[in-house]
């Protein structure tokens, strides 16, 4: 009897919580919806006394107004800088991650603790000391200067994340390969590396996203107009007299520079937590 009475009540509560969840989704998603909507609204719609929640007609001119003289060059700078620093830090970080995950040596523990603690130090405090250093090395205003500066956060992140992936690959696998006649290097190349590949890719993607989104270092290390990165470009674009109230242009610019991050992030986020070697050492 009680089950008969409880079933509809449970369905009712679920329906209630589902409704709450939808309201939460709408509230949280609204800023993104509004950004997208603004890019396709005409200027007349934008300065209407009563904003509309759907465009009266579609107008894509915002995208061309966002692409000012510096836009392309700045976006290209960001591509070069982020790929450069991620490539360097993947190589450097992979070696360190291997050492920490596969070898027992004196100084291993202090190194791990250092890598963890170092990630807590605010970038802006490092930058106070880093700018004079880069200045004396003549690296201010150069792509190389910013590539090197980004290693400060990409390398610790990559070491720590890759370490977790490597620990997840059972050492018995490379031992077995070595028993079968592989050298250490061959065991790494033929056994560990293929299993590590997905981990390398997603770690690289997340380090890349952090570099792409970085602002303070980019603003202070890169100098004049053509030299900025995309994020710095957006802040300057939004505060110029000609575009200060061109919100559709600002939203279009924001959308273009955020799009690669949004796409890659949503693809790789789910992968970050999935087990890699599940089943690799089955009986």
């Amino acid at each position: 009897m009680s089950t008969y009475r409880r079933a509809p009540r449970r369905a009712m509560t679920t329906a209630f919580w589902n409704t709450v969840a939808m309201v939460v989704s709408i509230v949280l998603g609204f800023p993104i919806y509004w950004m997208l909507l603004t890019t396709v609204k005409s200027n007349k719609d934008l300065i209407a006394q009563h904003p509309t929640f759907w465009p009266s007609h579609w107008d894509f001119s915002s995208f061309s107004s966002a692409m000012d003289d510096n836009f392309g060059a700045n976006l290209w700078n960001t591509v070069v800088i982020t790929l450069g620093s991620v490539a360097i830090s993947l190589v450097v970080g992979l070696l360190a991650a291997l050492a920490v995950a596969r070898f027992d040596f004196r100084g291993r523990k202090p190194f791990i603790v250092a890598i963890l603690v170092v990630q807590m130090v605010p970038l802006v405090t490092i930058l106070v000391g880093l700018l004079p250093v880069l200045n004396s090395a003549n690296l201010i205003g150069s792509l190389l200067g910013l590539i090197l500066a980004y290693l400060v956060f990409t390398i610790p992140f990559i070491i720590w994340t890759l370490r977790t992936y490597i620990v997840g690959i059972p050492a018995e696998l490379d031992e077995a390969a070595m028993v079968d006649g592989c050298t250490k290097a061959q065991a790494f190349r033929r056994v560990v590396l293929p299993l590590l590949a997905p981990g390398l890719v997603s770690t690289g993607v997340f380090a890349w996203i952090q570099a792409w989104n970085e602002f303070v270092m980019a603003r202070q290390i890169m100098g004049p107009a053509q030299n900025k990165t995309a994020m710095v470009w957006l802040t300057f674009f939004s505060s110029t007299p000609s575009h200060g109230s061109d919100y559709s242009g600002q939203m279009a610019g924001a959308l273009i520079i955020a799009a690669p991050v949004i796409i890659l992030f949503t693809i790789f986020q789910s992968r970050l937590s999935t087990g890699l070697t599940a089943g690799a050492v089955k009986g």
């Binding site: 989704s25 509004w34 904003p51 791990i112 390398i155 802040t235 939004s238 109230s245 955020a258």
Partner: protein
């Protein structure tokens, strides 16, 4: 299977003493060789600059001329420290930062726990929808977020004012959210920061909640506990370590917030918006007062360490593990 079984005996046969010694010698230097590149890079790009930063705190690099020509810089002892520490502005910024950070960490944790609990009791389709929205929110770069929210809260054509007007707050049309820095910082910037922090916190806490054994909850329920009691006495204690870590991370992020404040104030935050990150940036980089910036940096790191003592101790314990 056969490989694993045969391994011990084969290894004994295949590794004669001299060869094994060779391997161990190489095994001893190999890890250091692997570590060398990252140690060198981090020492030059991070270690040395941090040392330089601490030295700067005892120097007088407080104008651009001295920045481009370091030979003009000299040591002044604790002079920069005393001038910053006796500045009421510094203490005002510290107070504001701590209160604002506490507000943001508290709000994000509370809302995140509520949404995480919500995720546990809704239908799969609703869960997928909410998680998808959270992932998109999570993926937004903070500079972009700040720019978007400045438009949402715009006083002339902003949609927030209009929605408030629609639901009955007629006076809120054309309300300027940023005129009063307290409202701008504690309401608008807080909403941006909490919005951006929620996805990670919700998904981490939700994952933690699914780890709580259902038998424990069932048993408590059978014993007559109300849902709230189950949550307080079963779920929360199991979540405690996770709650500590997420709170600590939230503190680290909110304490040094810069991008959102910077973009919402269009690159020129008024003094009422200065939390410690903005204050440091304005002093060191906008006015080229690097030594002042160095003293503020030291203060920033010291405060973080004091608040996070328990968290750092946890990390030291991680170092102990394999």
């Amino acid at each position: 299977m056969s490989v694993t079984q045969n391994r011990p005996s084969q290894r004994e046969v295949q590794s004669p003493p001299p060869k094994r010694r060779g391997v161990t010698v190489r095994g001893k230097s190999l890890p250091y060789l692997f570590l060398a590149p990252s140690v060198v890079v981090l020492a030059t790009m991070m270690g040395y600059p941090l040392v330089r930063m601490v030295l700067l705190a005892f120097q007088n690099m407080n104008n651009y001329r001295k920045f481009v020509n370091p030979s003009l810089v000299s040591y002044v002892g604790f002079q920069t420290f005393s001038s910053i520490l006796s500045d009421p502005l510094f203490w005002q910024v510290i107070r504001r930062t701590l209160i604002w950070t506490a507000l943001n960490v508290g709000l994000s944790m509370l809302i995140a726990m509520a949404i995480a609990a919500l995720l546990g009791r809704i239908s799969p389709w609703a869960r997928v929808t909410l998680i998808t929205v959270l992932l998109f929110v999570w993926s937004m770069p903070t500079i972009v977020t700040g720019t978007v929210f400045r438009w949402l809260f715009d006083n002339a054509y902003g949609v927030i004012d209009y929605i408030l007007y629609l639901v009955g707050f007629k006076g809120m049309l054309h309300h300027d959210w940023f005129a009063d820095p307290n409202q701008g910082l504690y309401v608008v910037v807080t909403s941006v920061v909490v919005w951006g922090a929620l996805p990670f916190l919700v998904l981490a806490l939700h994952a933690g909640m699914t780890q709580v054994p259902t038998e424990l909850k069932e048993a408590a329920r059978v014993d007559g506990a109300s849902p709230l009691q189950v949550y307080r006495n079963v779920t929360l204690p199991i979540l405690r370590p996770l709650l500590l870590i997420t709170t600590a991370l939230s503190f680290i992020w909110d304490f040094q917030v810069f991008n959102q404040i910077w973009t919402m104030r269009n690159g020129a935050p008024e003094q009422g918006y200065w939390t410690i990150g903005v204050y440091l940036f304005e002093q060191a980089f906008d006015r080229n007062r690097y030594s002042d910036g160095a003293v503020i940096s030291v203060a920033m790191i010291v405060i973080m360490m004091l608040v996070l003592v328990f968290y750092i101790r946890q990390m030291l314990r991680i170092g102990d593990q394999k």
